[in-house]
């Protein structure tokens, strides 16, 4: 079980994490953050394998992943 | 100066550290030689071989040399005041003309002596004396070890042997008789170490007038030679205040 935390206020909604997630669980939210972007988010956290490809490709260092549930 | 001239061969190669007084000595030597030479029908030529430092070189005294009947061997007028590594034409020929007394005023330090390397073969084949002018009040020749290093460095780069030292201890306008004697001792000690003779002690003419008796006694068998300054303006020669 992994917990993926998005630093939503820094996200610029570029969507690279959405593309590179092998489980296709990351989406861009319907709402916008303070900067006016639709931030990335995960609805079904149980499917995350903790591969961190999303974080590896995130150009805005928005994503942190911790093992073992909510941090 | 006549005694100095007598101790030197037909071709005189003048080396030394930067600012040792090589060029002033060369000019004084040439002017003294010229006075004798007129009687003997000899030609005196002074070649400026200083390709390292483009200031205070013998080439700045061309008019004086010509007036004294000395042939200045300097680069052509267009490049005379450049910092291009050029020396005057005709040195090769003059090295082998028996009726010409040639003085080669070489650049400072071993760097300046490098220019001699290209002529060393021809100089070796001519009757020559290579001297090193030493001022022990210059930073890199201020002790026996430093003078030795300088001599060996110059010999290595020039690929020629130094035959004699010229002692030129002075502090410019601040020179005192004591400073001359103290410096001269260092030069003599260095000469002993290098197994070379000291063939002259140079002293500015206006100072020599004041201290002649003391200095001649002190110098013993080494001739004390009055020197006139030609390359530095008079207002720079005033005592520092």
């Amino acid at each position: 079980m992994f917990q993926v935390n998005f630093l939503e206020q820094y996200c610029k909604g570029c969507g690279l994490c959405v593309h590179f997630c092998p489980k296709n669980i990351i989406v861009l939210a319907q709402y916008t953050n303070d900067q006016g972007y639709n931030p990335a988010t995960i609805n079904d956290m149980t499917k995350c394998t903790g591969c961190a490809l999303c974080a590896r490709m995130c150009p805005h260092v928005v994503i942190e992943i911790v093992e073992g549930g909510a941090a | 100066m006549l005694q100095v001239i007598e101790s030197l061969q037909r071709v005189v190669v003048v080396t030394g550290s930067f600012g040792s007084g090589k060029s002033e000595f060369s000019l004084n030597l040439a002017i003294s030689m010229a006075e004798e030479a007129r009687k003997l029908g000899q030609v005196i030529a002074l070649a400026d071989l200083d390709i390292i430092n483009p200031y205070f070189r013998t080439r700045e005294a061309c008019a004086l040399l010509e007036e004294k009947g000395i042939k200045p061997i300097v680069p052509s007028p267009e490049v005379l005041y450049s910092d291009l590594p050029i020396y005057g034409p005709g040195i090769h020929n003059l090295l082998h003309q028996d009726d010409v007394r040639l003085i080669l005023d070489v650049g400072g330090d071993e760097m300046g002596a490098t220019a001699l390397g290209s002529l060393s073969g021809e100089i070796s084949n001519s009757e020559h004396s290579m001297v090193m002018v030493v001022n022990p009040y210059r930073p890199f020749t201020h002790d026996v070890a430093g003078i030795g290093r300088m001599a060996r460095g110059i010999e290595a780069r020039a690929r020629l042997k130094i035959h004699a030292l010229i002692s030129n201890p002075n502090l410019g306008p601040n020179t005192t008789a004591e400073a001359v004697m103290k410096g001269h001792h260092i030069v003599r000690a260095a000469a002993a170490e290098l197994r070379l003779p000291v063939v002259g002690l140079l002293v500015l003419r206006r100072f020599l007038k004041l201290w002649e008796d003391r200095l001649v006694t002190e110098a013993g068998s080494i001739p004390v030679v009055p020197i006139d300054i030609h390359l530095s303006p008079w207002w720079l020669q005033q005592k520092m205040r």
């Binding site: 992994f2 150009p59 260092v61 942190e64 | -």
Partner: protein, 248 residues
């Protein structure tokens, strides 16, 4: 850190980037920070920025930083390194800064074998000033100053790694790209090797990163990554051009 998972490197200050969405500068910054943290060098590092989109690098890193003038970073880094030979000193420069105005400084830094690292972000144009042609612009690429596409009359792409690898003073020279996670991992390894080269005192090192500029290329962030892979890599082949014995 857990075997899986990912945490923000502590050497990266917690603040929003000025970079555009999808800009690869952010990935490059993060990789540099991760390597410095993994090597435990945060307190021993002096970063030298540049002028270009990377101009604020010193604002984002949590270590000592210098903002020099355009193109002169390798000279500034030389001054720092000569005074502080045991520090990790690196420059972070774009292709305009490094490969145009700073060519002399970069070349002679390598020729001297200056023991510093250059992190070189190649995105084929001047990002900061609005997307003008750079020496690294691809043939046919349209920029604001090559409006009909770069042709012969605008010169040909400049391959910096290949040139610097010929310098005897250059110890480690590599070109990497950031267009997918595998490439990003390789890029990180290259930075690590470059920094190890420097800390071992082996000489000059450089890592060139082919980097996407979605805004000035007029592509989506994802299309821009594809552009790097399909258009840039053929002109700028990836690989290690020089690796010293000590870090193999």
């Amino acid at each position: 850190m857990a075997k899986k998972g990912y945490m923000r490197p502590p050497t990266l200050l917690q603040k929003p980037w000025h970079f555009c969405p999808g800009c690869n500068h952010g990935i490059a910054h993060r990789l540099v920070a991760e390597v410095i943290d993994e090597m435990g060098l945060q307190n021993q590092t002096v970063g030298v920025g540049s002028v270009g989109c990377g101009v604020f690098s010193y604002e984002y890193f949590n270590f000592d930083g210098i903002g020099p003038s355009h193109g002169r970073s390798p000279a500034v880094a030389t001054g720092v390194k000569r005074v502080l030979p045991d520090r990790l000193v690196f420059t972070y420069q774009g292709d305009g800064d490094l490969a145009a105005i700073g060519t002399t400084e970069m070349v002679h830094c390598a020729v001297r074998g200056e023991n510093i690292t250059i992190i070189f972000i190649n995105n084929t144009l001047y990002g900061m000033t609005g997307g003008q042609m750079a020496p690294t612009t691809l043939m046919g690429q349209v920029t604001t100053t090559s409006p009909r596409g770069r042709g012969r009359e605008q010169g040909l792409p400049f391959r910096v790694c290949e040139m610097l690898a010929t310098a005897e003073g250059a110890a480690y020279v590599a070109r990497v790209a950031l267009f997918n996670p595998a490439q990003v991992n390789r890029a990180k390894k290259a930075i690590r090797r470059a920094f190890e080269t420097q800390m071992a005192g082996l000489g000059f090192s450089m890592v060139e990163m082919l980097s996407a500029c979605p805004t000035n290329w007029g592509l989506s962030p994802l299309e821009a990554l594809k552009y790097v892979e399909e258009k840039m890599v053929p002109t700028y082949p990836l690989g290690e051009f020089k690796v010293p014995e000590g870090v193999k």
